[in-house]
Symmetry: C2
Subunit: 271 residues, 2 copies
Protein backbone atom coordinates (compact mmCIF):
# COMPACT_ATOMS: atom_id res chain seq x y z
CA UNK A 1 0.00 0.00 0.00
CA UNK A 2 1.57 3.27 -1.10
CA UNK A 3 -0.77 5.71 0.61
CA UNK A 4 -1.18 5.80 4.36
CA UNK A 5 -4.12 3.57 5.27
CA UNK A 6 -7.39 5.12 6.44
CA UNK A 7 -8.25 3.79 9.91
CA UNK A 8 -11.65 4.13 11.59
CA UNK A 9 -11.48 4.03 15.40
CA UNK A 10 -14.33 3.43 17.82
CA UNK A 11 -14.96 1.81 21.21
CA UNK A 12 -17.62 1.14 23.81
CA UNK A 13 -16.16 2.86 26.87
CA UNK A 14 -16.79 6.32 25.40
CA UNK A 15 -14.70 8.80 23.45
CA UNK A 16 -12.74 10.11 26.46
CA UNK A 17 -11.72 6.74 27.92
CA UNK A 18 -8.03 5.86 28.42
CA UNK A 19 -8.31 2.83 26.14
CA UNK A 20 -9.33 4.76 23.04
CA UNK A 21 -6.68 7.41 23.77
CA UNK A 22 -4.03 4.66 23.69
CA UNK A 23 -5.51 3.17 20.52
CA UNK A 24 -5.65 6.49 18.66
CA UNK A 25 -2.02 7.22 19.58
CA UNK A 26 -0.98 3.75 18.37
CA UNK A 27 -2.88 4.03 15.09
CA UNK A 28 -1.48 7.50 14.32
CA UNK A 29 1.86 5.74 13.76
CA UNK A 30 0.33 3.59 11.04
CA UNK A 31 -2.25 5.62 9.15
CA UNK A 32 -4.70 8.48 8.91
CA UNK A 33 -7.24 8.10 11.66
CA UNK A 34 -10.91 9.03 11.96
CA UNK A 35 -12.51 8.69 15.40
CA UNK A 36 -16.20 8.26 16.15
CA UNK A 37 -17.13 6.89 19.54
CA UNK A 38 -20.05 6.90 21.98
CA UNK A 39 -20.46 10.05 24.08
CA UNK A 40 -20.82 7.89 27.21
CA UNK A 41 -19.88 4.37 28.37
CA UNK A 42 -21.72 1.61 26.50
CA UNK A 43 -20.28 -1.55 28.05
CA UNK A 44 -22.40 -4.64 27.57
CA UNK A 45 -24.63 -3.16 24.88
CA UNK A 46 -23.71 -5.95 22.47
CA UNK A 47 -24.90 -5.41 18.93
CA UNK A 48 -27.56 -2.89 19.95
CA UNK A 49 -28.62 -0.22 17.47
CA UNK A 50 -30.70 2.89 18.09
CA UNK A 51 -33.97 2.64 16.19
CA UNK A 52 -36.55 4.10 18.56
CA UNK A 53 -34.67 7.30 19.37
CA UNK A 54 -32.74 9.99 17.53
CA UNK A 55 -28.98 10.42 17.51
CA UNK A 56 -26.76 13.45 18.01
CA UNK A 57 -23.38 13.67 16.30
CA UNK A 58 -20.89 16.21 17.68
CA UNK A 59 -17.44 17.23 16.53
CA UNK A 60 -14.93 16.82 19.37
CA UNK A 61 -11.31 17.66 20.10
CA UNK A 62 -10.09 15.07 22.59
CA UNK A 63 -7.61 13.27 20.36
CA UNK A 64 -6.06 16.07 18.30
CA UNK A 65 -7.40 14.42 15.15
CA UNK A 66 -8.98 16.34 12.26
CA UNK A 67 -12.01 14.10 12.04
CA UNK A 68 -13.26 13.06 15.44
CA UNK A 69 -16.85 12.84 16.65
CA UNK A 70 -18.92 11.70 19.58
CA UNK A 71 -22.28 10.03 18.97
CA UNK A 72 -25.17 9.66 21.41
CA UNK A 73 -25.53 6.01 20.41
CA UNK A 74 -24.00 2.56 20.59
CA UNK A 75 -20.68 1.31 19.15
CA UNK A 76 -22.58 -0.28 16.23
CA UNK A 77 -24.36 3.03 15.58
CA UNK A 78 -20.90 4.65 15.43
CA UNK A 79 -19.71 2.32 12.67
CA UNK A 80 -22.93 2.84 10.73
CA UNK A 81 -22.74 6.62 11.09
CA UNK A 82 -19.10 6.62 10.00
CA UNK A 83 -19.77 4.70 6.80
CA UNK A 84 -22.83 6.77 5.90
CA UNK A 85 -21.96 10.33 6.98
CA UNK A 86 -18.29 10.75 7.88
CA UNK A 87 -16.01 8.71 5.65
CA UNK A 88 -15.53 9.58 1.98
CA UNK A 89 -14.49 6.01 1.19
CA UNK A 90 -14.45 2.58 2.82
CA UNK A 91 -11.65 2.58 5.43
CA UNK A 92 -8.74 0.14 5.16
CA UNK A 93 -9.20 -0.89 8.77
CA UNK A 94 -11.69 -0.49 11.61
CA UNK A 95 -10.28 -0.83 15.13
CA UNK A 96 -12.37 -0.89 18.30
CA UNK A 97 -11.17 -0.49 21.87
CA UNK A 98 -8.96 -0.77 23.69
CA UNK A 99 -11.64 -2.13 25.98
CA UNK A 100 -11.19 -1.65 29.69
CA UNK A 101 -11.71 -5.32 30.59
CA UNK A 102 -11.85 -8.79 29.09
CA UNK A 103 -13.86 -9.92 26.08
CA UNK A 104 -12.70 -13.53 25.93
CA UNK A 105 -14.88 -16.52 25.17
CA UNK A 106 -18.67 -16.00 25.12
CA UNK A 107 -18.19 -12.37 26.18
CA UNK A 108 -17.69 -11.59 22.49
CA UNK A 109 -21.47 -11.68 22.21
CA UNK A 110 -22.18 -9.17 25.01
CA UNK A 111 -19.35 -6.84 24.08
CA UNK A 112 -19.96 -3.44 22.53
CA UNK A 113 -16.27 -3.32 21.56
CA UNK A 114 -16.50 -6.53 19.58
CA UNK A 115 -19.93 -5.72 18.16
CA UNK A 116 -18.42 -2.63 16.52
CA UNK A 117 -15.78 -4.86 14.92
CA UNK A 118 -18.45 -7.36 13.82
CA UNK A 119 -20.44 -4.49 12.29
CA UNK A 120 -17.32 -3.43 10.40
CA UNK A 121 -16.99 -6.99 9.07
CA UNK A 122 -20.66 -7.03 7.99
CA UNK A 123 -19.87 -3.84 6.02
CA UNK A 124 -16.84 -5.51 4.42
CA UNK A 125 -14.24 -3.51 6.38
CA UNK A 126 -11.22 -5.39 7.84
CA UNK A 127 -11.99 -5.02 11.54
CA UNK A 128 -10.57 -5.89 14.93
CA UNK A 129 -11.50 -5.34 18.57
CA UNK A 130 -8.87 -5.03 21.31
CA UNK A 131 -9.45 -5.65 25.01
CA UNK A 132 -7.07 -5.30 27.94
CA UNK A 133 -7.92 -7.73 30.71
CA UNK A 134 -7.68 -5.14 33.45
CA UNK A 135 -10.74 -3.40 34.91
CA UNK A 136 -8.77 -1.21 37.32
CA UNK A 137 -8.86 2.56 37.02
CA UNK A 138 -5.08 2.68 36.71
CA UNK A 139 -4.85 0.07 33.93
CA UNK A 140 -1.69 0.51 31.84
CA UNK A 141 -2.55 0.49 28.13
CA UNK A 142 1.02 0.90 26.84
CA UNK A 143 1.71 -2.77 26.03
CA UNK A 144 -1.78 -3.03 24.52
CA UNK A 145 -1.00 -0.12 22.20
CA UNK A 146 2.10 -1.94 20.91
CA UNK A 147 0.13 -5.17 20.43
CA UNK A 148 -2.60 -3.25 18.60
CA UNK A 149 0.03 -1.84 16.23
CA UNK A 150 1.51 -5.28 15.50
CA UNK A 151 -1.88 -6.80 14.78
CA UNK A 152 -3.18 -3.83 12.78
CA UNK A 153 -0.05 -3.94 10.58
CA UNK A 154 -0.52 -7.67 10.05
CA UNK A 155 -4.13 -7.18 9.00
CA UNK A 156 -3.13 -4.44 6.54
CA UNK A 157 -0.32 -6.64 5.18
CA UNK A 158 -2.13 -9.99 4.94
CA UNK A 159 -5.76 -8.97 4.61
CA UNK A 160 -8.42 -10.72 6.67
CA UNK A 161 -10.28 -13.81 5.46
CA UNK A 162 -13.71 -12.92 4.02
CA UNK A 163 -16.49 -12.10 6.52
CA UNK A 164 -14.12 -12.44 9.50
CA UNK A 165 -13.00 -9.92 12.13
CA UNK A 166 -10.61 -10.47 15.02
CA UNK A 167 -11.18 -10.55 18.76
CA UNK A 168 -7.90 -9.70 20.50
CA UNK A 169 -7.52 -10.03 24.29
CA UNK A 170 -4.38 -8.84 26.02
CA UNK A 171 -3.32 -10.03 29.48
CA UNK A 172 -2.52 -7.26 32.00
CA UNK A 173 1.25 -7.54 31.71
CA UNK A 174 4.25 -5.57 30.58
CA UNK A 175 5.20 -6.21 26.96
CA UNK A 176 8.32 -8.08 28.10
CA UNK A 177 6.19 -10.43 30.23
CA UNK A 178 3.86 -11.40 27.36
CA UNK A 179 4.88 -14.74 25.84
CA UNK A 180 3.55 -14.12 22.33
CA UNK A 181 0.45 -13.91 20.17
CA UNK A 182 -1.73 -17.00 19.87
CA UNK A 183 -4.43 -17.70 17.29
CA UNK A 184 -7.28 -19.48 19.14
CA UNK A 185 -10.90 -20.42 19.15
CA UNK A 186 -13.58 -19.08 21.51
CA UNK A 187 -13.63 -21.18 24.70
CA UNK A 188 -16.96 -22.64 25.75
CA UNK A 189 -18.05 -20.80 28.85
CA UNK A 190 -21.01 -19.03 30.34
CA UNK A 191 -21.97 -16.84 33.28
CA UNK A 192 -23.66 -18.12 36.39
CA UNK A 193 -25.93 -15.18 37.11
CA UNK A 194 -26.33 -13.89 40.60
CA UNK A 195 -28.55 -10.85 40.79
CA UNK A 196 -27.66 -8.84 43.85
CA UNK A 197 -31.00 -7.85 45.40
CA UNK A 198 -31.10 -4.65 47.47
CA UNK A 199 -33.78 -2.46 48.97
CA UNK A 200 -34.27 1.19 48.02
CA UNK A 201 -35.10 3.79 50.71
CA UNK A 202 -38.81 3.00 50.24
CA UNK A 203 -38.21 -0.71 50.85
CA UNK A 204 -38.76 -1.76 47.22
CA UNK A 205 -36.36 -4.29 45.70
CA UNK A 206 -33.92 -3.49 42.95
CA UNK A 207 -31.23 -5.64 41.38
CA UNK A 208 -27.65 -5.45 40.15
CA UNK A 209 -26.56 -7.99 37.56
CA UNK A 210 -23.46 -9.84 38.75
CA UNK A 211 -22.17 -13.29 38.02
CA UNK A 212 -19.41 -15.80 37.95
CA UNK A 213 -17.59 -16.72 34.74
CA UNK A 214 -17.63 -20.49 34.24
CA UNK A 215 -15.03 -21.83 31.80
CA UNK A 216 -15.97 -25.34 30.72
CA UNK A 217 -12.74 -25.99 28.83
CA UNK A 218 -10.06 -25.27 31.39
CA UNK A 219 -7.33 -27.48 29.95
CA UNK A 220 -7.95 -26.82 26.25
CA UNK A 221 -4.81 -25.16 24.89
CA UNK A 222 -6.46 -24.05 21.63
CA UNK A 223 -8.88 -21.69 23.46
CA UNK A 224 -8.64 -17.97 24.12
CA UNK A 225 -9.14 -18.45 27.87
CA UNK A 226 -6.15 -20.79 28.06
CA UNK A 227 -4.02 -18.37 26.03
CA UNK A 228 -4.58 -15.30 28.19
CA UNK A 229 -4.28 -17.28 31.42
CA UNK A 230 -0.88 -18.45 30.18
CA UNK A 231 0.33 -14.94 29.35
CA UNK A 232 -0.35 -14.99 25.61
CA UNK A 233 -2.32 -12.44 23.62
CA UNK A 234 -5.34 -14.32 22.19
CA UNK A 235 -6.52 -13.69 18.62
CA UNK A 236 -9.86 -15.29 17.71
CA UNK A 237 -11.35 -15.02 14.21
CA UNK A 238 -15.02 -14.06 14.61
CA UNK A 239 -17.77 -14.57 12.03
CA UNK A 240 -21.22 -13.03 11.82
CA UNK A 241 -22.85 -15.99 10.10
CA UNK A 242 -24.44 -17.54 13.17
CA UNK A 243 -25.88 -20.54 11.29
CA UNK A 244 -25.16 -23.75 13.18
CA UNK A 245 -24.33 -25.72 10.03
CA UNK A 246 -23.57 -28.93 11.91
CA UNK A 247 -27.16 -28.94 13.19
CA UNK A 248 -28.79 -28.74 9.74
CA UNK A 249 -28.89 -32.53 9.05
CA UNK A 250 -30.53 -33.32 12.40
CA UNK A 251 -33.20 -30.65 11.90
CA UNK A 252 -33.89 -31.83 8.34
CA UNK A 253 -35.01 -35.16 9.83
CA UNK A 254 -37.69 -33.61 12.04
CA UNK A 255 -41.30 -34.19 11.01
CA UNK A 256 -42.35 -30.54 11.27
CA UNK A 257 -44.02 -30.58 7.87
CA UNK A 258 -46.11 -33.61 8.81
CA UNK A 259 -47.47 -31.67 11.80
CA UNK A 260 -47.91 -28.64 9.57
CA UNK A 261 -49.80 -30.62 6.92
CA UNK A 262 -52.14 -32.10 9.55
CA UNK A 263 -52.82 -28.66 11.00
CA UNK A 264 -53.50 -27.01 7.64
CA UNK A 265 -55.74 -29.89 6.56
CA UNK A 266 -57.64 -29.40 9.79
CA UNK A 267 -58.02 -25.70 9.05
CA UNK A 268 -58.98 -26.31 5.44
CA UNK A 269 -61.61 -28.87 6.43
CA UNK A 270 -63.14 -26.38 8.86
CA UNK A 271 -63.76 -23.83 6.06
CA UNK B 1 -42.40 -36.54 28.80
CA UNK B 2 -45.06 -37.35 31.41
CA UNK B 3 -45.32 -34.01 33.15
CA UNK B 4 -46.37 -30.86 31.36
CA UNK B 5 -43.23 -29.08 30.21
CA UNK B 6 -42.12 -25.85 31.87
CA UNK B 7 -41.93 -23.07 29.27
CA UNK B 8 -40.21 -19.72 29.80
CA UNK B 9 -41.59 -16.94 27.59
CA UNK B 10 -39.97 -13.59 26.81
CA UNK B 11 -39.77 -11.11 23.95
CA UNK B 12 -38.31 -7.76 22.95
CA UNK B 13 -41.43 -5.77 22.10
CA UNK B 14 -42.48 -5.58 25.75
CA UNK B 15 -44.78 -7.58 27.98
CA UNK B 16 -48.03 -6.04 26.66
CA UNK B 17 -47.32 -6.46 22.95
CA UNK B 18 -49.71 -8.47 20.73
CA UNK B 19 -46.95 -10.90 19.73
CA UNK B 20 -46.25 -12.14 23.26
CA UNK B 21 -49.98 -12.39 23.97
CA UNK B 22 -50.31 -14.74 20.99
CA UNK B 23 -47.26 -16.72 22.08
CA UNK B 24 -48.46 -17.14 25.68
CA UNK B 25 -51.85 -18.35 24.47
CA UNK B 26 -50.18 -20.84 22.12
CA UNK B 27 -47.80 -22.17 24.79
CA UNK B 28 -50.59 -22.61 27.37
CA UNK B 29 -51.83 -25.47 25.17
CA UNK B 30 -48.49 -27.26 25.54
CA UNK B 31 -47.15 -26.64 29.01
CA UNK B 32 -46.91 -24.59 32.17
CA UNK B 33 -45.76 -21.12 31.28
CA UNK B 34 -43.72 -18.50 33.09
CA UNK B 35 -43.55 -15.03 31.52
CA UNK B 36 -40.84 -12.44 32.06
CA UNK B 37 -40.52 -9.69 29.49
CA UNK B 38 -39.24 -6.13 29.20
CA UNK B 39 -41.49 -3.41 30.59
CA UNK B 40 -41.06 -1.41 27.38
CA UNK B 41 -40.10 -2.05 23.73
CA UNK B 42 -36.50 -3.19 23.27
CA UNK B 43 -36.25 -3.70 19.52
CA UNK B 44 -32.73 -3.70 18.14
CA UNK B 45 -31.01 -4.05 21.50
CA UNK B 46 -29.25 -7.22 20.36
CA UNK B 47 -27.45 -9.08 23.13
CA UNK B 48 -27.31 -6.04 25.42
CA UNK B 49 -27.22 -6.59 29.18
CA UNK B 50 -27.71 -4.02 31.93
CA UNK B 51 -24.50 -3.65 33.91
CA UNK B 52 -24.29 0.07 34.63
CA UNK B 53 -27.80 0.48 36.00
CA UNK B 54 -30.14 -1.29 38.37
CA UNK B 55 -33.15 -3.37 37.41
CA UNK B 56 -36.73 -3.43 38.69
CA UNK B 57 -38.75 -6.64 38.61
CA UNK B 58 -42.53 -6.32 38.92
CA UNK B 59 -45.27 -8.91 39.13
CA UNK B 60 -47.86 -8.32 36.42
CA UNK B 61 -51.25 -9.64 35.39
CA UNK B 62 -51.52 -9.15 31.66
CA UNK B 63 -51.53 -12.81 30.63
CA UNK B 64 -53.58 -14.50 33.33
CA UNK B 65 -50.55 -16.58 34.27
CA UNK B 66 -49.50 -17.33 37.85
CA UNK B 67 -45.88 -16.38 37.31
CA UNK B 68 -45.54 -13.35 35.08
CA UNK B 69 -43.19 -10.41 35.51
CA UNK B 70 -42.02 -7.27 33.77
CA UNK B 71 -38.38 -6.26 34.00
CA UNK B 72 -36.88 -2.82 33.39
CA UNK B 73 -34.13 -4.39 31.26
CA UNK B 74 -33.32 -6.11 28.00
CA UNK B 75 -34.53 -9.48 26.69
CA UNK B 76 -31.21 -11.06 27.72
CA UNK B 77 -31.60 -9.58 31.22
CA UNK B 78 -35.03 -11.26 31.33
CA UNK B 79 -33.59 -14.72 30.64
CA UNK B 80 -30.85 -14.19 33.21
CA UNK B 81 -33.32 -12.96 35.83
CA UNK B 82 -35.62 -15.92 35.16
CA UNK B 83 -32.90 -18.49 35.68
CA UNK B 84 -31.53 -16.82 38.80
CA UNK B 85 -34.62 -15.51 40.64
CA UNK B 86 -37.87 -16.84 39.18
CA UNK B 87 -37.58 -20.44 38.05
CA UNK B 88 -37.17 -23.27 40.54
CA UNK B 89 -35.59 -25.48 37.87
CA UNK B 90 -34.20 -25.22 34.36
CA UNK B 91 -37.16 -24.85 31.96
CA UNK B 92 -37.77 -27.43 29.24
CA UNK B 93 -38.11 -24.70 26.66
CA UNK B 94 -37.48 -20.97 26.27
CA UNK B 95 -39.55 -19.19 23.61
CA UNK B 96 -39.08 -15.58 22.57
CA UNK B 97 -41.43 -13.41 20.53
CA UNK B 98 -43.54 -13.39 18.55
CA UNK B 99 -41.57 -10.47 17.20
CA UNK B 100 -43.46 -7.78 15.38
CA UNK B 101 -41.25 -7.78 12.28
CA UNK B 102 -38.63 -9.82 10.49
CA UNK B 103 -35.45 -11.28 11.96
CA UNK B 104 -34.16 -13.06 8.88
CA UNK B 105 -30.54 -13.22 7.77
CA UNK B 106 -28.03 -10.92 9.50
CA UNK B 107 -30.86 -9.37 11.54
CA UNK B 108 -30.41 -12.26 13.97
CA UNK B 109 -27.46 -10.31 15.36
CA UNK B 110 -29.38 -7.06 16.02
CA UNK B 111 -32.49 -8.77 17.32
CA UNK B 112 -33.48 -8.65 20.97
CA UNK B 113 -35.93 -11.48 20.31
CA UNK B 114 -33.20 -13.76 19.01
CA UNK B 115 -30.66 -12.64 21.60
CA UNK B 116 -33.00 -13.90 24.33
CA UNK B 117 -33.08 -17.29 22.57
CA UNK B 118 -29.30 -17.28 22.19
CA UNK B 119 -28.96 -16.49 25.89
CA UNK B 120 -31.21 -19.45 26.63
CA UNK B 121 -28.93 -21.65 24.54
CA UNK B 122 -25.84 -20.36 26.37
CA UNK B 123 -27.57 -21.43 29.59
CA UNK B 124 -28.27 -24.89 28.16
CA UNK B 125 -32.04 -24.33 27.70
CA UNK B 126 -33.67 -25.50 24.43
CA UNK B 127 -34.61 -22.11 22.95
CA UNK B 128 -36.32 -20.59 19.95
CA UNK B 129 -37.21 -17.10 18.72
CA UNK B 130 -40.29 -16.46 16.56
CA UNK B 131 -40.80 -13.47 14.29
CA UNK B 132 -43.76 -12.52 12.13
CA UNK B 133 -42.68 -10.58 9.05
CA UNK B 134 -45.32 -7.91 9.46
CA UNK B 135 -44.59 -4.53 11.04
CA UNK B 136 -48.15 -3.21 10.72
CA UNK B 137 -50.16 -2.35 13.80
CA UNK B 138 -52.90 -4.74 12.74
CA UNK B 139 -50.59 -7.73 12.20
CA UNK B 140 -52.44 -11.04 12.56
CA UNK B 141 -50.52 -13.39 14.87
CA UNK B 142 -52.93 -16.34 14.65
CA UNK B 143 -51.03 -18.39 12.04
CA UNK B 144 -47.79 -17.58 13.89
CA UNK B 145 -49.25 -18.99 17.09
CA UNK B 146 -50.02 -22.27 15.33
CA UNK B 147 -46.54 -22.40 13.79
CA UNK B 148 -45.01 -21.68 17.22
CA UNK B 149 -46.93 -24.64 18.66
CA UNK B 150 -45.77 -27.01 15.91
CA UNK B 151 -42.13 -26.01 16.32
CA UNK B 152 -42.22 -25.96 20.13
CA UNK B 153 -43.68 -29.48 20.16
CA UNK B 154 -41.00 -30.66 17.76
CA UNK B 155 -38.25 -29.22 19.95
CA UNK B 156 -39.72 -30.93 23.04
CA UNK B 157 -40.04 -34.20 21.11
CA UNK B 158 -36.67 -34.27 19.31
CA UNK B 159 -34.47 -32.14 21.55
CA UNK B 160 -32.23 -29.49 20.02
CA UNK B 161 -28.64 -30.19 18.96
CA UNK B 162 -26.14 -29.06 21.62
CA UNK B 163 -25.45 -25.31 21.83
CA UNK B 164 -28.02 -24.51 19.15
CA UNK B 165 -31.22 -22.45 19.25
CA UNK B 166 -33.68 -21.79 16.43
CA UNK B 167 -34.51 -18.61 14.53
CA UNK B 168 -38.01 -18.94 13.08
CA UNK B 169 -39.42 -16.37 10.66
CA UNK B 170 -43.03 -16.54 9.53
CA UNK B 171 -44.32 -14.85 6.38
CA UNK B 172 -47.40 -12.60 6.85
CA UNK B 173 -49.91 -15.09 5.45
CA UNK B 174 -52.86 -17.16 6.54
CA UNK B 175 -51.92 -20.65 7.69
CA UNK B 176 -53.52 -22.13 4.57
CA UNK B 177 -51.35 -19.91 2.36
CA UNK B 178 -48.07 -21.02 3.97
CA UNK B 179 -46.34 -23.70 1.89
CA UNK B 180 -44.51 -25.44 4.74
CA UNK B 181 -41.59 -25.20 7.17
CA UNK B 182 -38.10 -25.04 5.71
CA UNK B 183 -34.80 -25.63 7.54
CA UNK B 184 -32.33 -23.06 6.15
CA UNK B 185 -29.10 -21.21 6.68
CA UNK B 186 -28.74 -17.48 7.36
CA UNK B 187 -28.59 -15.60 4.03
CA UNK B 188 -25.65 -13.29 3.51
CA UNK B 189 -27.00 -9.76 3.60
CA UNK B 190 -26.37 -6.40 5.17
CA UNK B 191 -27.95 -3.01 5.57
CA UNK B 192 -27.03 0.00 3.48
CA UNK B 193 -27.31 2.68 6.12
CA UNK B 194 -28.99 5.96 5.35
CA UNK B 195 -29.18 8.23 8.36
CA UNK B 196 -32.08 10.62 7.91
CA UNK B 197 -30.72 14.03 9.00
CA UNK B 198 -33.23 16.55 10.36
CA UNK B 199 -33.06 19.88 12.15
CA UNK B 200 -34.48 20.44 15.61
CA UNK B 201 -36.32 23.72 16.42
CA UNK B 202 -32.95 25.30 17.36
CA UNK B 203 -31.46 24.37 13.99
CA UNK B 204 -29.19 21.62 15.34
CA UNK B 205 -28.97 18.35 13.42
CA UNK B 206 -30.27 15.05 14.68
CA UNK B 207 -30.45 11.69 12.95
CA UNK B 208 -32.77 8.72 12.51
CA UNK B 209 -31.18 5.41 11.60
CA UNK B 210 -32.79 4.02 8.46
CA UNK B 211 -31.47 1.72 5.79
CA UNK B 212 -32.05 -0.62 2.94
CA UNK B 213 -31.75 -4.39 3.36
CA UNK B 214 -29.36 -5.80 0.76
CA UNK B 215 -29.65 -9.55 0.16
CA UNK B 216 -26.53 -10.81 -1.61
CA UNK B 217 -27.88 -14.30 -2.20
CA UNK B 218 -31.18 -13.70 -3.97
CA UNK B 219 -31.38 -17.02 -5.84
CA UNK B 220 -30.02 -19.30 -3.11
CA UNK B 221 -32.84 -21.68 -2.17
CA UNK B 222 -31.12 -22.91 1.03
CA UNK B 223 -31.36 -19.47 2.68
CA UNK B 224 -33.94 -18.05 5.06
CA UNK B 225 -34.59 -15.04 2.84
CA UNK B 226 -35.49 -17.29 -0.10
CA UNK B 227 -37.76 -19.39 2.13
CA UNK B 228 -39.88 -16.55 3.49
CA UNK B 229 -40.07 -14.81 0.11
CA UNK B 230 -41.46 -18.06 -1.28
CA UNK B 231 -44.11 -18.42 1.42
CA UNK B 232 -42.28 -20.91 3.65
CA UNK B 233 -41.61 -20.56 7.37
CA UNK B 234 -37.80 -20.42 7.76
CA UNK B 235 -36.06 -22.29 10.59
CA UNK B 236 -32.36 -21.49 11.02
CA UNK B 237 -30.20 -23.23 13.64
CA UNK B 238 -28.20 -20.52 15.44
CA UNK B 239 -24.99 -21.05 17.38
CA UNK B 240 -23.25 -18.79 19.89
CA UNK B 241 -19.74 -19.99 19.12
CA UNK B 242 -18.74 -17.14 16.83
CA UNK B 243 -15.30 -18.57 16.05
CA UNK B 244 -14.59 -18.44 12.32
CA UNK B 245 -12.96 -21.88 12.24
CA UNK B 246 -12.32 -21.77 8.49
CA UNK B 247 -10.11 -18.72 9.03
CA UNK B 248 -7.81 -20.35 11.62
CA UNK B 249 -5.31 -21.89 9.14
CA UNK B 250 -4.81 -18.58 7.29
CA UNK B 251 -4.23 -16.67 10.52
CA UNK B 252 -1.79 -19.33 11.78
CA UNK B 253 0.46 -18.45 8.82
CA UNK B 254 0.75 -14.78 9.75
CA UNK B 255 4.10 -13.62 11.12
CA UNK B 256 2.66 -11.81 14.15
CA UNK B 257 5.09 -13.44 16.53
CA UNK B 258 8.06 -12.33 14.43
CA UNK B 259 6.91 -8.73 14.76
CA UNK B 260 6.23 -9.32 18.45
CA UNK B 261 9.71 -10.79 19.04
CA UNK B 262 11.36 -7.82 17.29
CA UNK B 263 9.35 -5.36 19.35
CA UNK B 264 10.07 -7.06 22.68
CA UNK B 265 13.78 -7.39 21.86
CA UNK B 266 13.77 -3.66 21.14
CA UNK B 267 12.13 -2.96 24.49
CA UNK B 268 14.44 -5.33 26.33
CA UNK B 269 17.51 -3.71 24.75
CA UNK B 270 16.29 -0.28 25.89
CA UNK B 271 16.25 -1.33 29.54
Amino acid sequence: MNKRPLILITNDDGITSPGIIALVEAMKDIGNVVVIAPDKPQSGVGHAITINATLRLDKTNYHNVKKEYSLSGTPVDCVKMATDKILQRKPDLCVSGINHGSNISVNVIYSGTMSAAVEGAIDGIPSVGFSLMDYSIGADFSASGEIAKIIAKNILLNGLPKDICLNVNIPPLKLSEIKGIKVCRQAKANWKEEFDERKDPSGRSYYWLTGEFINMEKEKEDTDVWAVRNNYVSVVPVQFDMTGYSALPALEKWKMNDSFAKKTLFYKSKK
